[in-house]
């Protein structure tokens, strides 16, 4: 009941926001493409191109159904599109079906404003991921155990209020640039990424993190972030419900104008895939937010009890 009321109210807000954005859209949309290359961002006191601000992210869903259909074919279940897939974690009867399909599955790339940019899987062009055959078989088997979840490991990390998968979440994100670092704060899941620019090495290989260990450097107006030391306990997206601890990501954040950061991430996960693949998206600066709010999740969640029942002894 409350949820329904909330959704109505938020929809009204979304409509208002959309109208406001639409009023601004022409100026943004009609800018000649060539101007992007000429954009010169301000500099921070330590000389970094200034990318500070609050952004929303789109396109990084791992899946873009619109683009697939535009190509006139549907690959042979490359990443389990949700709408027609009985294995999808979104179609489960255990309460999680109310999850808004804004993440990944519904292709958040479909909701970009401004000029259309590449989104979702951009390499390989046919969007079919280069799974190792045996790993693809394991993945399909894994998905068979997610509805209902056969055990804790089959529950998505974000449903557990744990640190989220790589392609989950759309923002807002706040970028801050203290001397020698880029700090990305996420409202969703209230996590922080500190990307040191001081040339330090990665952490020792036995120290593993949900978000991995990131180091970065600037190449012109592009922040390049190299991340290793993943613990392998999160996921890519709902359709690719895990990743391996061999993962290495290289992200490129390119400032293209005052409001836009083009994003591209190269996935190198040799335990699961035969070669690397790439996902692209865009961070769009939002000026109607001045601050991130608190995203409390575990503090009220009964998700696991709903799925599995109350643990004994509690």
């Amino acid at each position: 009941m409350r949820i329904k009321l909330f959704r109505v109210r938020s929809s009204v807000a979304v409509v208002i926001a959309a109208a406001w954005l639409a009023a601004l859209a022409p100026a943004h949309g009609q800018r000649p493409a060539a101007s992007a290359a000429k954009w010169t961002p301000d500099r921070t006191p330590d000389g970094q191109p200034d990318m500070q601000g609050i952004y929303n992210r789109s396109g990084v869903g791992g899946l873009d159904p619109g683009a697939l259909e535009a190509q006139g074919h549907r690959p042979e279940n490359p990443i389990d599109p949700s709408e027609n897939n009985p294995l999808s974690v979104s179609n489960r009867p255990d309460g999680l079906a109310n999850v808004d399909r804004g993440f990944g599955e519904a292709g958040s790339g479909a909701r970009q404003r401004g000029p259309r940019r590449p989104g979702g899987i951009v390499d390989p062009p046919n969007k079919i991921l280069p799974w190792k055959p045996e790993e693809d078989a394991k993945r399909r088997d894994f998905l068979l155990h997610t509805n209902p979840a056969a055990g804790l490991r089959y529950v998505e990390t974000d449903a557990r209020c744990a640190l989220p998968g790589l392609f989950l979440g759309g923002g807002p994100y706040q970028f801050l640039q203290p001397p020698g670092a880029v700090v990305i704060l996420s409202e969703y899941s209230h996590f922080t990424r500190v990307i040191h620019l001081d040339g330090r090495p990665h952490l020792g290989k036995n120290l593993r993190l949900f978000l991995g260990d990131s180091v970065g450097h600037w190449e012109g107006n592009t922040l390049v972030v190299d991340t290793t030391n993943y613990n392998g306990l999160t996921a890519y997206s709902r359709e690719i419900p895990y990743l391996s601890d061999a993962l290495r990501t290289v992200e490129r954040f390119t400032i293209t104008d005052a409001k836009t950061i083009d994003y591209e991430v190269t996935i190198d996960d040799p335990k699961l895939f035969t070669k690397t693949w790439k996902v692209a998206g865009v961070y769009s600066k939002t000026e109607n937010l001045t601050d991130l709010l608190e995203y409390a999740c575990a503090e009220g969640s009964q998700t696991l009890v709903n799925i599995f029942g109350e643990p004994p002894g509690k």
């Binding site: 959704r7 006191p45 601000g53 557990r160 209230h190 949900f210 001045t290 799925i307």
Partner: protein, 293 residues
């Protein structure tokens, strides 16, 4: 624009109607209020800071002069941690099994509880092993407790913003500087922070708390009327004097204060790591799931 956040909040609250804390109801309330409000806030105010004039050669800074940012403010950037036992008990306490002894951090060592609240504190203490929201349940620790948990935290400091990221449960606070007044009626676990500089001291006004967090594992507590004013004073490049004034007319008879030094991590390439309390707790509680309903 905020659909994704709203959607997941809705998901997290599915089935939480019976949760004793009822926190999701509050989340919903604050988000429903915020979303239309946010749309009406159209501008980010940028307060450009004038870089400090270069120091005159020969005018060697006194030992107490803090390291400064380009914008001329004391540089709080870095990873910090306390060296005390306030996480167990903010007042003087002797050692017990698993509890290191410590001198308290409360000025005068007395917390001015109203009589009913003193009884409630004793009740909290008795059931602390299961009832402590932070240690037993891994919930967000609130302010000031996040500061003196035995985990480091990172301060990110730019001319317009301060953010504090805590290793415990990846708790996060953003602190806009000169960022205006508190939003009405948005109670939260970590409170809502507004910062300003008073000379060399960063003063953070924190309001909009819920009544769910404790000050320590000894059951010291507050209500949703809690108001905290924190003061961060860089006393030398490696130390911050941290002071917090606590005000809560529902629970205390007068405001009271705690203070302690914060120590900069000076290790080679210190880095904030992860203590994913919720995840670890779930691994323990649900390792044999599914259970019979």
């Amino acid at each position: 624009m905020r659909r994704s956040v709203c959607g997941l909040t809705a998901a997290a609250s599915v089935g939480s109607i019976n949760h004793p804390f009822g926190s999701n109801r509050r989340q919903m309330k604050r988000l429903t209020k915020f979303v239309p409000g946010a749309v009406s806030v159209l501008f980010i105010l940028w307060f450009a800071e004038t870089p400090a004039a270069p120091q005159t050669p020969g005018a060697r800074p006194a030992a107490s002069t803090p390291r400064r940012t380009v914008a001329g403010k004391p540089d709080l950037n870095g990873i910090w941690q306390v060296l005390n036992t306030a996480a167990w008990d903010i007042q003087d306490h002797s050692g017990q099994l698993g509890v290191p002894p410590g001198q308290g951090v409360v000025e005068g060592n007395e917390i001015p509880y109203q009589p009913w609240a003193l009884a409630k504190k004793a009740e909290n203490f008795a059931k602390r092993i299961t009832a402590d929201p932070t240690e037993a349940n891994c919930f967000l620790p609130g302010i000031p407790r996040a500061t003196y948990l035995p985990f480091p935290f990172q301060i990110t400091h730019t001319p317009d913003n301060v953010a504090i990221s805590y290793e415990f449960a990846h708790a996060l606070r953003t602190i806009p500087l000169e960022g205006g007044k508190h939003i009405e009626g948005l109670p939260s676990w970590m409170g809502e922070s507004r910062g300003r500089w008073e000379g060399n001291t960063l003063v953070v006004d924190v309001g909009n708390f819920n009544d769910e967090t404790w000050f320590d594992r000894a059951g010291n507590f507050h209500s949703d009327q809690l108001h905290v004013v924190e003061r961060y004073t860089l006393t030398d490049p490696e130390h911050i004097l941290y002071e917090a004034t606590i005000e809560d007319p529902k629970v205390f008879t007068r405001p009271w204060k705690m203070s302690m030094p914060l120590y900069r991590l000076v290790d080679n390439h210190p880095k904030l790591l992860e203590y994913e309390c919720v995840y670890y707790l779930q691994e323990e509680r649900f390792k044999d799931a599914p259970f019979k309903k």
